[in-house]
Subunit: 225 residues, 2 copies
């Protein structure tokens, strides 16, 4: 019955699910919990942090990675499970896209996804491209991960990286390799234009292949599993 961060987050998710994210206000949330608005601020520092916590609830519902079934089915199941979460909480992807910094839970999700590709024999560099391709499709936060590295003191950055490397080794490996020219540990982040065209051409080539084989196929060129 006592108020807790968990109870606050779950009530907020329920409001957003039922009435839409635009109906979620601190005052409405407090009312639903039978509490004075200011009481919420003991469990979340601000509405911003409330939204972060709500994203973590959604990401926490994604199935853990299934190991030993090959990278392709591993990634496939993970992404389809993520989609189920996002369908249950339609506000989540938009909220995710509106934030500049991923939460630890989101980083953890990305790290384990990267791990699946690496274990499947993908090079660090190819994994990086591939994460860009699926990133904006499934969870729209990848591109901004290290985008402020230019304005950060390189020494502070190195410390940050070493610290993060303990918890998210795969993410750090990708981010480090992203400096194509290698002038610094992280460089100026990765070449977004390159990544965008990489993804675009991957799709266009796929479209071309489908078009060329369509005559030998029916309506749906691919079976549902």
């Amino acid at each position: 019955m006592a108020l807790s961060r968990d109870r606050v987050l779950r009530a907020a998710v329920a409001i957003a699910d039922d009435a839409g994210i635009e109906s979620l206000s601190m005052r409405k949330l407090a009312e639903d919990l039978g509490v004075v608005p200011m009481a919420l601020y003991k469990h979340v520092a601000s509405k911003e942090e409330l939204l972060d916590g709500m994203i973590d609830v959604v990401v926490g519902e994604i199935d853990p990675p299934v190991l030993g079934t090959g990278w392709k089915s591993g990634v496939r199941h993970r992404i389809l499970s993520a989609r189920q979460s996002l369908l249950r909480h339609p506000w989540a992807s938009r909220v995710m896209e509106s934030k500049k910094n991923p939460t630890p839970v989101v980083l953890e999700y990305m790290d384990s996804m990267i791990g699946i590709f690496r274990a499947g024999g993908f090079s660090v560099s190819l994994t990086h491209h591939v994460m860009h391709v699926i990133g904006s499709r499934i969870l729209g936060f990848t591109q901004e991960l290290f985008n402020d590295s230019r304005t950060v003191d390189p020494e502070v950055q190195a410390v940050m990286l070493r610290e993060l490397g303990g918890k998210y080794p795969n993410v750090v490996a990708i981010a480090t390799a992203a400096s194509h020219e290698g002038e610094s540990v992280v460089g100026q982040g990765c070449d977004d234009q390159f990544e965008f065209e990489f993804a675009l051409d991957l799709l266009l080539d796929g479209f071309e292949r489908l078009r060329n084989t369509e005559s030998t196929s029916i309506n749906h060129p691919r079976q549902l599993e």
Copy 2:
């Protein structure tokens, strides 16, 4: 000097570009224009309609389709130009995703994109799948286009379709073909789960091909043009 819809929209886009979409309020916009807040409501019915108009400004900046260079380069240039617009106006994709109904300008953009694929020899059905794949990447509104068709009177729907068909023949062709079982003109819209898996598998197959050929290639398996 006189206030006009166009001047209101351009001022709103300027605020969102400079200070972020969260800084855009009717009151701030009025102040920037040297006008009392209520004066805006003669040119836009509500903030919602203001946002629609702003999206139209952004979409209006996308280059018109280049004809006669083949579907692949046509689509490629169109999408890269759309990306430039969205980079100039970083708030635009999020606003677009938050709306349930596309504006006529957006429909027009989709219609001409579909036209490029059709002229390039893509079947209606394949064009439909392919639009789903790029839709959520480039402009995130495709999926919701006809999602309320179940709750609409079929007769009203038929009239709507005939009317729309004049302006957006390609969009209507795609939407009509989307009823896989053909029980009604539009049916219950298209099978989102199928479309999602179609896109996912297209990407996974592409990843696999890249992985398999990576040993014979260097860092970037694909040249920038």
